[in-house]
Amino acid sequence: MLSCREVSALLSDQLDRRLSLKERIGLRLHLAMCRACGRVEAQLRFLREAMCGLPKQRRDAKRS
């Protein structure tokens, strides 16, 4: 069973590369049992979305 720390690396990596089958299975097993890591997964995706809005946000703020 992977630790939360190991899982956090996979949660980051899956935003940058395709995980191996073994990694995906390990990750899904852990996530099925760990609510905290499920939150982290969603939050890292949210972080990406927030960064996409950063340049646009500032430009709009200046205009208003």
Binding site: S3, C4, R5, E6, S8, A9, S12, D13, L15, D16, R17, A36, C37, R39, V40, Q43, L44, F46, L47, R48, E49, A50, M51, C52, G53, L54, P55, K56, Q57, R58, R59, A61
Partner: protein, 191 residues
């Protein structure tokens, strides 16, 4: 001379991204504007140097990174960007995890995070959190999430292995997650 005009308009499209990247890396808005201006002048002059192998934004960002390094040199401040040492060195995540791999502070649920995307104060906190990252982790993260570099392109730019690249991105994301939780989602700053 139709072709250069098309490319010039194309360059303009990337200005807001370059400005944001420069401001976050230089931490001075006026300097960032000057440096980005220099990038555009260089880019227009050296348009023939654009091979088409990378995207326009990647090409402009490479020029920007050189200009930022020039700026630091002129200011007499050698900014250490030893990504290799940083990725290999002391682990910046030790503070977030116990020895057994559990979180020291259990990640909390964030209530309606989407709402924050419409709040200017949230972006201020996000930028402050990015500013607290170490030099190499911060640069790797911004290249990836702001400038849209591939991991391969980041490795080339920072001159580190793929593994080290993933290590830097992992650290940056987890530290940002913790910082946003502490300073925004769990704090009273949010309405």
């Amino acid at each position: 001379m139709a072709a250069p005009r098309v490319v010039a308009a194309d360059l303009e499209e990337h200005r807001s991204y370059l400005l944001k990247f420069a401001a976050l890396q230089l931490r001075q808005k006026e300097v960032a504007e000057d440096v980005v201006q220099e990038v555009f002048l260089s880019a227009l002059k050296g348009m023939d140097g654009f091979s088409g192998r990378s995207s326009v934004r990647t090409w402009l960002t490479s020029i920007l990174l050189n200009k930022i390094a020039d700026h630091h040199r002129k200011a007499g401040r050698e900014v250490s960007m030893d990504a290799l040492a940083e990725a290999d060195g002391e682990d910046a995540l030790d503070a977030l995890f116990r020895k057994n791999g559990h979180y020291v502070d259990m990640p909390q649920a964030w209530r309606n995070p989407e709402e924050s995307l419409a709040d200017q104060r949230f972006y201020d906190v996000l930028e402050a959190c990015v500013g607290r990252l170490s030099a190499a982790a911060g640069r790797a993260f911004l290249l990836r999430e702001l400038m849209g570099f591939s991991v391969e392109e980041i490795c080339k730019e920072l001159r580190v292995s793929t593994t080290n690249c993933h290590v830097l991105l992992h650290r940056a994301r987890l530290r940002l997650r913790a910082c946003l939780e502490e300073r925004w989602f769990a704090s009273g700053r949010r309405k």
